[in-house]
Symmetry: C2
Subunit: 466 residues, 2 copies
């Protein structure tokens, strides 16, 4: 055994240090992107152990990548290919989980899984409402600032984060784990560690604001004639149902048709596939005896159709599980259609139709074999603008085609529509090039100043925010 | 006319530069604290003019204090007594006000008044829901991160800020004025300028998320037996009425009695003055035909009284204007009782009764002539713990008594109850000493690093966040 492994084993205990290549593999491979090689995987189980580990690495000049559940989509939680980085896995840092129903908060270790937290919260009639497809750790959710399908109502992680515990690159523990909703005492320290991929410190603990579990939900699928009609309906629903309006997920006809081609158990509830379909969800903590959400939703849609009759083609009610299943099978179904180039774009939501049309127009001229199969969180301005094509139809190899199309689509989003090349997923190696291209110089300079302050040796992480 | 005034007049136009002492006075005096002397008052009316002004001051080494509507409560918007600082007033920077009902956003200049914005929004059935007693400018609200009485439902300014335009100390304009709800591209730049008193840059523009105006409100005053009963009711209401629960303002018996002693037009709706009174407000964008808030509130209180009968002494419904008037006259009424030492404290809300009791116990031993007249935003953990005494009863002069009591009350809040010495108002000269005492060294160090980065000459502001 080499000296590093001996030292770390002495520091963290034998079960905490993985050096065998077969044991390391899952920590070296990202969920969607990223594949590297680790010098060692360390799995401390307390904040004090994380601190000791960081101080040790700092002393030795050992580079560290922090890893939660490794469910991120931009490759920001796996080591590079050099084989010299240590993976700091927080999977055993999951002892603290203190729920306070009066504060409506949960104090958790950074390595606690979202599912574990929600399981414990459910016993108190509570949940952490940042709703995702994956099952990440809370520390990773903070470092990524995850959003999800119900951001419209509950906000992102940043919005629900009250207190933080971080370990800095030199091992210093900074404990601001307080359950304060109001604390205007200058710089809001926790913001520096939210959405910054663990580059300025390791999130080892957090106090989260949580919410009561809804007592009822109502869901509708609404067939719409186009992007303008999608926005008209959004505006009507927000104006009339604001506080119970929890999701507005939109699927284009191209994407919806793919779902029904590839998912045998799912059926089109409409007679045809409409240009756009909106999944509308309402939820409330009020009982049905006070507020009948299902009737409310039918009435609101009826009133909207009277005012904007031409835009709404059809509507179906009820069946939340079935309607959400359609939404959740879009990505998988598109992969059955051919090559897919996925995007995670946001623009101001009023600009979604014009942005989508601009992409279609450009593709029609330049790469007419690519189909735009867009879907996403229109309530938040988010669009997973997936492009689908058959390899055989492309005169260019994918390795040439993909970067060319990415660049143009991102240019349209960022430069022409004041949008974002990464709405939800973060930067990471996958988006590094676009961060470098589009980030204002002043923002990069602040990122560099913070890096120089927190980690002058540059030991933490593999993303560059400067 | 001296060279400075000549230069600034050439840069900004004659109406923009005030040098006469009588004209300067209102810019030199804080709302509650702070009185200084300005070298000059400059009032640019565009971002380009702010930039030119800052570049000029940077070149000359002239110190600048940024001032909005000057309604802050910690003296952070007035110059020091040296007479060498320029006041940068944004009162004429109020041209842009672009409301987009589909985005549900407003793009505004930093100098736009909250009342002006809400007036324009009302025409679209919208409002900016950060609800305050004063009428500040939007830029000042961002630099202070104001909270107010409906934070429980709508959050603070930070929560509703989507995009920002700032002018840095050297005159550089950084425009991130985008209406994005999702934008996970690393460091969230706008957080550096939110709640930091204009120390890192001048907020010249913002994109705010706004909300539909409620269609109905229901209000109750509930008489409660003590702090535990206040928290029990809070928990019941949040669990059952989450999304329509917009305010929970609590007034102690000492404070309420003062209101009825000093406000002739206001009457105690109860037979006696209860130990605590909670003002409960519900609001909804749903029409009464779908949701009857008044009945809902009565039912919810009835159900709570069945479960926790001993804690609820009485309840009165309706009369929103009258009930809010009682709440809004607390501060003024206490000033009629004698000397007042006001606080702006937050603790985790479950700790409010124990914290309040700890203050009472200490005062009972050390300064028994001081009465605790607490009231505040219990839903957010906020308490304006006002102490009232008759000067004649104190063996110590106020100049000795006040700092001694402040220090102990803040120690109890911050050190014993993980609370904040400034829940809403910010740091400023008024709280500088307590910032220096209680801020963790790592947070100060980050504040210093950002100052060194943004403003190495230290020209902006008079608060120190390091």
């Amino acid at each position: 055994m080499d000296a590093l492994l001996e030292d770390l084993t002495a520091l963290l205990g034998p079960g905490a240090v993985l050096a065998d290549p077969s044991e390391r593999e899952k920590y070296e491979t990202g969920w969607r992107y990223g594949k590297g090689r680790a010098r060692v995987v360390a799995r401390p189980s307390t904040t004090a152990e994380v601190s000791a580990f960081m101080a040790y690495c700092h002393g030795k000049g050992l580079r560290v990548i922090v890893q939660g559940a490794n469910t991120g989509l931009v490759g920001a939680s796996v080591p590079d290919e050099g084989g010299a980085m240590a993976v700091l896995s927080l999977e055993r840092l999951n002892r603290r989980m203190e729920i306070d129903p009066t504060d409506r908060t949960a104090l958790v270790d950074g390595g606690v899984l979202l599912s574990a937290l929600n399981g414990a919260l459910a016993e108190h009639g509570l949940h952490f409402p940042v709703d995702l497809g994956a099952d990440p750790q809370i520390g990773g959710m903070i470092a990524t600032n995850t959003g999800g399908t119900r951001l419209l109502r509950y906000g992102d992680v940043r919005r629900n984060l009250l207190g933080l515990e971080v370990v800095l690159a030199d091992g210093t523990v900074v404990d601001t784990l307080s359950a304060l909703r109001k604390n205007n005492t200058g710089l809001d320290w926790k913001q520096l560690f939210t959405g910054t991929s663990g580059l300025y410190g390791v999130v080892t603990g957090a106090v989260l604001q949580v919410a009561p579990l809804p007592r009822q939900r109502a869901v509708a699928l609404v067939a719409l004639s186009g992007g303008g009609a999608v926005l008209d309906l959004l505006r009507s629903l927000e104006g009339g149902l604001f506080e119970v309006f929890t999701a507005y997920e939109v699927i284009s006809g191209e994407a919806l048709a793919a779902v029904f081609r590839h998912q045998e158990t799912l059926r089109n509830p409409f007679d045809e596939v409409p240009p756009y379909t909106a999944l509308v969800e309402l939820a409330s903590s009020l009982p049905e005896s006070s507020l009948d959400l299902a009737s409310l939703l039918e009435e609101a849609l009826g009133a909207h159709m009277e005012a904007h009759g031409e835009g709404v083609l059809d509507a179906r009610f009820g069946k939340p599980a079935e309607f959400w299943a359609i939404r959740h099978h879009v990505s998988e179904s598109l992969r059955g259609e051919g090559r897919v180039l996925a995007f995670d774009i946001a623009v101001p939501r009023s600009g979604l139709p014009a942005f989508t049309e601009a992409v279609k127009a450009w593709l029609g001229r330049e790469h007419p074999f690519m189909r735009v199969c867009d879907f996403g969180h229109w309530g938040d301005g988010g669009t997973h603008l997936n492009l689908v094509w058959r390899e055989a139809d492309s005169p260019l190899p994918a390795a040439e085609l993909v970067p060319r199309v990415q660049r143009k689509v991102y240019d349209l989003a960022v430069l022409e529509h004041r949008g974002s090349y990464s709405a939800e997923h973060g930067v990471g190696p996958h988006n590094q090039h676009y961060h470098d291209l589009y980030t204002p110089p002043a923002v990069k300079a602040a990122g560099a100043a913070l890096r120089a302050h927190f980690d002058p040796e540059g030991l933490l992480g593999i993303t560059r925010l400067w």
